[in-house]
């Protein structure tokens, strides 16, 4: 069995009118199937309101599907006895770094999760040290989170999750509130974790440039998975992506337009170097 499997997952919530009366049901997730192996780097793309954040909250049992099942590491996410095991193996990083800091010092914040699991003090200290080294924040371990930049805060949040020794990290638009420098820092840290530690990464984003590094991309639209495939496959379908209100990276768009204009270059170009090589050929 794969690390994370979703079978025909449906999530509905009740829409209420002004006086709290039931106004109808809104289907936020509609028959989603996923199959993710250990060590994968997955990107889930989609415009606002496409259900991608709702889907993310299903992966560590914060939400339960209305219909269908999700298996994480062989456990059903609705199994109340397994809930802490699931949350231990699937860490979550959220959009706003300020709203997920619990400690007044970086070190304390990173120690929060292992303290909750009930690990020995000495082991906690070691895990905190290791996690901070992994995201290159060891020099700031005594600082107050409010003194850090956005990218640094988000890396501390990642370290806080790493200290649980998770098998998978779900990042829900981790770069949406960061400047370009912060974005690069966070994405670099995430890629390193995937490469070096073989941690499964599920990156939820609407920034196409970040999705380029994924092994596989899922594009969501109105609660359904509209497209899936490797970045190269996805980015060669420029028109379909634009229908989902997503803009492809500039290079890809340029290559696409050139190809449409009659230039003989391959489809699905992702980086500037590739485009240069294709044109010079």
């Amino acid at each position: 069995m794969n690390f994370l499997e979703a079978k025909k997952v449906i999530f509905e919530y009740v829409r209420r009118g002004k006086d709290g009366e039931v106004d109808g049901f809104k289907r936020a997730i509609d028959e989603v199937d996923l199959d993710i192996s250990q060590g994968d780097f997955i990107a889930i793309l989609g415009p606002n309101g496409s259900g991608k954040s709702t889907l993310a909250k299903h992966f560590n049992s914060l939400l339960h599907p209305t219909e269908g099942t999700i298996y994480v590491d062989g456990c059903d996410t609705t199994d109340a006895d397994k809930i802490w095991d699931i949350r231990k193996s699937v860490g979550m990083v959220f959009q706003n770094p300020e709203n997920q800091m619990i400690g007044t010092i970086v070190e304390e914040d990173v120690a929060f999760a292992p303290e909750n699991i009930g690990i020995d003090p000495e082991e906690i200290k070691q895990r905190v040290r290791e996690s901070l080294v992994m995201v290159e924040m060891q020099d700031h371990r005594k600082s107050s989170p409010s003194k850090l930049s956005g990218g640094q805060k988000q890396r501390v949040a990642i370290a806080g999750v790493l200290a649980m020794h998770p098998k998978c990290i779900v990042l829900d638009e981790p770069t949406a509130m960061l400047d370009p420098e912060g974005r690069r820092e966070v994405i670099r840290a995430v890629r390193a974790l995937n490469d070096v530690e073989n941690i499964t990464i599920i990156l939820i984003t609407h920034n196409m440039e970040e999705a380029v590094y994924a092994d596989r991309i899922y594009v969501m639209k109105d609660g359904r998975i509209a497209m899936s495939g490797t970045p190269r496959e996805i980015f060669s379908r420029v028109e379909e992506l634009e229908e989902c209100r997503l803009t492809v990276p500039q290079v890809t768009k340029l290559a696409y337009e050139l190809r449409k204009g009659g230039l003989d270059i391959p489809s699905g170009i992702l980086t500037r170097e590739e485009l240069c090589r294709a044109i010079c050929r």
């Binding site: 860490g91 959220f94 709203n99 400690g103």
Partner: protein, 266 residues
């Protein structure tokens, strides 16, 4: 005004007081505050002054920083002083028109001011030398016996430490909202008191909404990091008494003894 309140702020230096176990400091502050209200004579206050001054010297916190906390209570100080001076009956000191100042009144006013000032300085000295998380850890540990009476000690301590973490965040937010409303023409400075209070509504409503939203986000983030209350929770740095802390308790007992002796003898 908000920035003047040093109570609850932490001043990072590396002193003996900073390194003491928070439980010792909590206990010490409690004993000190009680002693302030036991003294009825000036001799007693000399003892309290000696104790306080030596603690300030030990803490390495700049004196200016400590006294800044008094600015916030200046009004209360003047108010108590005036009331006590004019309204205490007793032997007449000076009298003009319908107002009489008594010897007892002056004495009482002086005591009240000393008490309030020492109280604020003493307790802010504790928070200045203890990190918020250490403080709540200390509270949780020293009030642990209340769990027998089903008091949710851990939860209260957790709420306190979260509140302390979010004070700067919410202050910044308030500032941002005020500027945003001013940019759209809101006026907070003119008009009588009722109008000014009314003009606070457009600040408070968005502030509360954002605070609730933050609380919701934080709760989800805590849950996904396996938070499930105090049961089975461990600490990265569990509190443990050292030689230094035992010495501090000895000093406290000595102080208490002196207080009692002075109280009986003078």
């Amino acid at each position: 005004m908000i920035r003047d309140i040093t109570l609850g702020q932490y001043y990072p230096t590396d002193s003996v007081l900073h390194r003491l176990d928070p439980r010792v400091k909590l206990c010490g502050t409690l004993i000190y505050v009680i002693s302030l209200f036991l003294f009825q004579t000036f001799t007693g206050y000399i003892v309290a002054t000696v104790f306080l001054v030596s603690m300030i010297a030990l803490s390495h916190v700049p004196v200016k920083f400590i006294f800044r906390g008094l600015k916030a209570i200046l009004f209360i100080l003047v108010f108590t002083a005036v009331l006590n001076t004019f309204l205490t009956p007793g032997r007449e000191l000076v009298s003009f028109w319908k107002i009489t100042i008594t010897i007892e009144g002056v004495r009482l006013a002086a005591f009240m001011i000393l008490r309030l000032v020492y109280l604020i300085i003493g307790s802010s000295l504790m928070t200045l030398t203890t990190t918020p998380s250490n403080l709540t850890d200390g509270l949780e540990k020293s009030l642990g016996w209340l769990k027998v009476f089903r008091v949710p000690v851990h939860e209260i301590a957790m709420m306190m430490s979260i509140a302390l973490t979010f004070i700067p965040v919410l202050l910044e937010e308030t500032d941002r909202i005020i500027k945003a409303q001013q940019a759209r023409g809101a006026d907070f400075e003119s008009g009588n008191i009722i109008r000014r209070v009314k003009s606070l509504v457009p600040i408070l409503v968005p502030l509360f909404i954002s605070a609730f939203r933050r609380a919701n986000d934080l709760a989800i983030a805590m849950e996904s990091r396996c938070y499930h209350g105090g049961d089975g929770r461990t600490k990265m740095r569990p509190l443990a008494y050292g030689f230094r802390d035992i010495m501090a308790y000895v000093v406290l007992v000595l102080y208490l003894a002196v207080v009692i002796v002075v109280g009986i003898m003078f």
